[in-house]
């Protein structure tokens, strides 16, 4: 019973934290686009928070390199569980055309568990809203 109330709350109120892991800023700008009044994600209870301690969803962007990989892992450990991770952009999903670079580590799903993959360079804000809503379906 209590568990169901909590799950309902989690589905209706996803607070996103924007974790940039060395992105080229293109995906980051599109994330900010998603949060503008035009797309109005507050309809779904999605809200941007400034602290990983308040987050339910991590929006991870970027090519994970040797500098950011340990930090991303630490960031994931700082988020209270349960939390969802969305890999935003082709770089976060697969490394894109940086995958042969000398300082590239791995796609982020080999560093932290990823729930939803959203390829695109950059993905559109509408696609990101879709990804967040699809992430809701992963809550059990």
């Amino acid at each position: 019973m209590l568990k169901n109330i909590f799950k309902w709350g989690l589905k209706k109120s996803l607070w996103v934290y924007h974790a940039g892991a060395a992105a080229c800023n293109n995906c980051d700008i599109e994330i900010l686009d998603m949060l503008t009044p035009r797309h109005d994600v507050e309809r779904f209870g999605v809200m941007l928070v400034g602290s990983p301690r308040h987050a339910d969803v991590l929006l991870v962007t970027g090519v994970c390199n040797r500098q950011t990989a340990p930090r991303l892992k630490r960031l994931y450990e700082q988020v209270p569980k349960p939390c969802l991770v969305i890999a935003i952009g082709s770089c976060a999903c697969s490394g894109h055309f940086f995958r042969d670079s000398y300082n590239y580590v791995s796609p982020i799903d080999q560093i932290i568990p990823v729930d939803v993959y959203l390829p695109g360079c950059p993905p559109k804000p509408e696609a990101m809203i879709d990804a967040v809503i699809k992430a809701v379906g992963k809550i059990r």
């Binding site: 909590f6 507050e42 309809r43 602290s51 339910d56």
Partner: protein, 304 residues
């Protein structure tokens, strides 16, 4: 029997449960009006409830090297203070006889408790951003307490009463204080003070989301964060009620209209102003607001 009645008052009807539900609905009104002002649709009515339900089920993380009891106890102290203010105000609003000498002073002191709890919790959390936020919160309290006490003193001197019940009774006999020069000035000063007590936008300096993340509450997660958000939501209900009791004649048939008018004023101020810097906020409160409150006080001494 008496103690059971007290428990019921404190925990259920005019106290915790009632104020929590009403306060969460008030924050929904705030978010919805804000959304409409930005040409958005805004969240559904159950949004604040979903937020609290979610936070209650999440993990609580206590940072390394932090005193567990102080870190997790501070939000509860704030919540207890807010609940007590709500209970006192509602009991006296529903029945003018349920008042005691100096309950206005008790309410004034209890209203600083949520801010103090946030300062203690933020300082305990060993986070540099939380320390900055806590020190800003302290400066903000220094800034707004003087005009707040002057505004309350205006009410005391006009009505010659220290009891909330007598203050409401005086206004029933002589009309709301708002419609006099001193009352209006005190009301204006108190409105800005309440904006700061709520941590609403021009004065959300301690929690400045964009520069110091969430300030004092940055390390809070799960149920502890839910308690902080709940006490903030209850303040959204209780502080406009406090203004209504002091200046607009308290609880009567017009109460919903008066309450919504004060809440709408707060939301409008919130949505049409950028955040002040802490030194600007100090200058604002010790300058114009204190001068207005002092002028109101002097007029009250002259009986205007």
């Amino acid at each position: 029997m008496q103690s059971l009645k007290l428990l019921f008052d404190y925990l259920i009807f005019p106290g915790f449960l009632f104020c929590a539900v009403a306060g969460l609905l008030a924050t929904w009104v705030d978010r919805k009006v804000t959304a409409r002002l930005q040409y958005r649709v805004g969240p559904p009515w159950f949004q604040p409830f979903a937020d609290i339900a979610k936070l209650l089920g999440k993990e609580t993380i206590v940072p390394e090297g932090v005193s567990r009891s102080v870190f997790l106890g501070a939000p509860l102290v704030g919540l207890a203070g807010v609940t007590l203010v709500g209970t006192l105000l509602w009991l006296v609003s529903l029945n003018l006889g349920q008042t005691f000498v100096g309950d206005l002073i008790v309410v004034m002191y209890l209203l600083t408790l949520p801010s103090l709890a946030i300062i203690i919790g933020g300082s305990a959390s060993r986070n540099p951003l939380a320390a900055i936020g806590a020190s800003r919160e302290m400066k903000l309290i220094l800034a707004y307490e003087l005009p707040f006490i002057l505004a309350c003193a205006t009410v005391i001197f006009r009505t010659r009463a220290l009891q909330l019940g007598e203050i409401i009774g005086w206004q029933m006999a002589n009309g709301p204080l708002f419609w006099s020069f001193s009352g209006f000035l005190a009301f204006a000063a108190a409105l800005f003070v309440i904006q700061a007590k709520l941590g609403a936008v021009p004065f959300d300096i301690p929690e400045a989301e964009q520069e110091i993340a969430a300030g004092p509450i940055i390390e809070y997660s799960g149920p502890a964060l839910a308690v902080i958000r709940l006490s903030r939501a209850m303040l959204y209900f209780i502080l406009p009620l406090f203004l209504t009791v002091l200046f607009l004649g308290g609880f009567d048939a017009w109460f919903p209209a008066k309450y919504l008018a004060v809440l709408t004023l707060i939301i409008l101020i919130k949505n049409t102003n950028p955040r002040l810097r802490i030194d600007h906020a100090l200058r604002f409160f010790w300058g114009p607001v204190t001068i207005a409150a002092a002028a109101g006080f002097i007029l009250a001494l002259l009986g205007k």
